[in-house]
Amino acid sequence: MSPLKIKKGATSHSAYDLRPTFSDKEERHTLAVLVENEPGVLSRVIGLFAGRGYNIDSLTVAEVDHLGHRSRITIVTTGTPQTIVQIKAQLGRFVDVHKVNDLTVEGPSVERELALFKVHGTGEHRIEAIRLADIFRANVVDSTLESFVFEITGTSEKIDAFAELMQPLGLKEIARTGVAALSRGSVA
């Protein structure tokens, strides 16, 4: 068999901390998965979660490096520490996965989600909706005489809270992007 040229620094499939703490407590983790932007990668990742029974709370994907042909998949998942370690190792196995980062354990990180809310209402409800939107720093991006579309950015918790408040004020429809996340500080 003829060998191939291994790219410099290509040892992406390395060990994680292989000594996990075994506990039954479920934890929420945000994983950033840098993948080759190839057809089928997303399907493999989703198939892994479905096939092995892992949870997906949120999943976002988009190309982040056009020249380098890389996409970033951000997955929010919940599971026991052992399951989380398994998920990372299973993701790391894929040929098209370059890097798996667990933003929840690798130091502080920022997480943001964008959502659009359609709220119907007139009179008091309409005024209250606008007032709350202001408090949550949501923008009005569309309006008719009986409806608004709000745009809001923030953590998932903030968006959940906004949704709860809008419910009695005529909330009709929500579109959420899912979580995008980055580690804080200068290190990539």
């Binding site: 191939l4 499939h13 060990a15």
Partner: protein
């Protein structure tokens, strides 16, 4: 200078460049250009199987017995779907194979064209990686990368789906050395962890090596280093079904196979050890039995190339990520440089205990009367073939477990069995692949009559290519393993576990022009086996055996290792409780 050629020619050129000498395949509309190229060259031998499943299992058998990747070529649609069982089998057992599938032309993909199927979609969960090649310019690079990926890290099956227009079109051929890849799994283990393992070995009172298919996959050097390590330490060693042959069965420290149908001494040693050194095994459920009672008092070390195998089901104290041969080499060096210390007195006591367990003689059986016991048939086969360079394949069922128990393996790559998936119909085509890779060797497939029928069409292949594969069928006229579970678990209600309307195997062999031998009398057995061995050509050996023999020892599902059912006289009536019954 860059060469240009058609996609179909690239396929053949890349196979030649990768050192492939044999391809197992079956033609069809979507691969005709490739078959046309195969026709016009002499470097690669094409073996026409009789069913695509056979092609993939044959490629697996070739790969396992030679240590080189196996290659299969099938057409689109039904050709590709017929390959799925073999792909899954190879994924479960980490066998490096490259399966090339034809596809409808790119401009027809998605139109429900004749013999179109979503091959990459269907095979995604059962391959290590797969590609749909849409440009001829990319084809050769993908071919080279496919060999790299199938064979590096934890080996596995890959699929390259090649649309017919890509095969016809002309493009640039890329040489392997021009292909860049980022896939480069870690092979060296962490030295700190390796030192920690060496320390644990020095202190261990009741150590055991628990080895698996990873040792075989790591290559012959790994088996060699393992033997050295066992000799250096004097520790006992057992192996999973997949690891048989990595340490010689005649070796002093050999405990025999462990697991559900493993030997009493091997399972007891696993249960009572204080240091378990897992080398290239994966704590499969056939090995662990009940998880919360699995080797409760031991420190566990685990050497594996796949991070996802470590801590998957069993918590490990000393995890070492790396290739077995690389890690064992470092471990041996550390071990020697630290002065080759062991707790001799304690280990001697441990051996004393093990020898007590050995006295149970868990594989004993009595051959009396005029009916052949399957254990006897295999003991005789062992005796009469032990001086050959012998390759054994199996199907799946009781006969498979008996073969693992009663045949001895001295070297790696001599034992081909479907472990992870348990695929009936694996053994016969696998034996064809083994014989292609090892033309002068004695290749025997130990089969059950039911399993063998699942891919019996390959008798045509064996005849066509004059492959003298010996099909040794232990015919109990039962789906024996199913029947055994029904006896243990379902109140002896033998629902559909008969082999009814069986063919006359001798006549069946003769219909293909092969030799058939029937043996039903223990007194005739040796002569009949010799007749099989002396025949230069495929033989179908119909060995009529005891119909209701059970395979023991057995750890009933849901039970820990130290609650094994032993052979004759075992109380099977209430062996499996309801919590164990849900398990497979």
């Amino acid at each position: 200078m860059t060469k240009t050629m058609t996609g179909a020619k690239m396929v053949v050129q890349a196979l030649i460049d990768q050192g492939v000498d044999t391809v197992f395949g079956y033609p069809g509309g979507a691969v005709l250009p490739i078959y046309d190229e195969i026709f016009q060259q002499n470097s690669i031998k094409h073996v026409l199987v009789r069913h695509e499943q056979g092609a993939v299992h044959a490629a697996e058998g070739y790969a396992r017995s030679t240590g080189k990747p196996g290659v299969a070529l099938v057409t689109s649609g039904p050709g590709a779907t017929n390959a799925v069982t073999g792909l899954t089998d190879a994924l479960m057992d980490s066998i490096p194979i490259i399966v090339l599938t034809g596809q409808v032309p790119t401009f027809m993909i998605g139109s429900d064209a004749f013999q179109e199927c979503d091959t990459v979609g269907i095979t995604r969960p059962c391959t290590k990686h797969n590609w749909l090649v849409k440009e001829t310019d990319k084809l050769s690079a993908i071919m080279h990368e496919a060999f790299h990926i199938a064979t590096s890290g934890r080996p596995g099956p890959v699929v390259i789906d090649i649309p017919k227009d890509v095969q016809f079109a002309t493009g640039k051929y890329t040489e392997a050395r021009q292909v860049e890849t980022h896939y480069n799994p870690q092979v060296k283990g962490d030295m700190e962890m390796i030192t920690e393992l060496a320390e644990a070995m020095e202190k261990a009172k009741r150590p055991v090596f628990y080895t698996g298919g990873g040792v075989i996959n790591s290559g012959p050097a790994a088996s060699q280093l393992l033997r050295e390590l066992v000799a250096e330490t004097g520790f006992p060693i057992t192996s999973t079904l997949m690891g048989l042959g990595c340490y010689p069965a005649s070796g002093e420290n050999w405990l025999g196979m462990l697991g559900m149908h493993g030997l009493y001494e091997a399972n007891m040693a696993m249960h009572d050890c204080d240091l378990m050194i897992n080398i290239g095994a994966r704590f499969d459920d056939r090995i662990t039995g009940r998880l919360d009672a699995f080797s409760p008092g031991s420190t566990k070390a685990h050497i594996d190339i796949d991070a996802s195998s470590i801590n998957k089901v069993i918590k490990v104290d000393i995890p070492i990520l790396g290739d077995v041969a690389h890690v064992l080499e470092d471990l041996l060096n550390v071990w020697k440089s630290r002065g080759r210390k062991t707790n001799k007195e304690a280990v001697q006591k441990w051996w004393h205990q093990i020898n007590e367990w050995r006295k149970i003689d868990c594989l004993k059986y009595t051959q009396k009367g005029k009916v052949i016991k399957p254990q006897y048939a295999l003991s005789r086969l062992q005796e009469l073939t032990k001086n050959h360079d012998r390759y054994i394949c199996t199907e799946v069922g009781q006969h498979q477990m008996w073969a693992a128990q009663y045949l001895d393996f001295e070297d790696p790559n001599r034992w081909m069995t479907s472990g992870g998936l348990g695929t009936m119909g694996y053994g016969f085509p696998a034996s064809i692949g083994v014989q292609m890779g090892n033309p002068d060797a004695l290749v025997i497939n130990v089969a059950g009559e039911a399993s063998w029928l699942m891919n019996m069409q390959e008798l045509g292949t064996a005849m066509q290519y004059k492959l003298p594969v010996k099909q040794f069928i232990l015919n109990n006229e039962r789906l024996g393993m199913v029947r055994q579970w029904q006896e243990l678990l379902h109140g002896e209600r033998y629902s559909s576990s008969w082999s009814e309307s069986l063919p006359d195997f001798v006549k069946l062999a003769e219909a293909f022009g092969a030799k058939g031998i029937l043996c039903s009398d223990p007194d005739d057995l040796d002569d009949a086996i010799m007749e099989m061995l002396n025949h230069d050509g495929p033989v179908l050996f119909d060995c009529l055996v005891e119909k209701h023999e059970n395979c023991f020892p057995m750890i009933p599902s849901g039970k820990p290792h130290n609650e094994m059912l032993l052979g004759e006289g075992a109380d099977t009536a209430n062996a499996i409780k309801s919590d164990g019954a849900v398990m497979v």
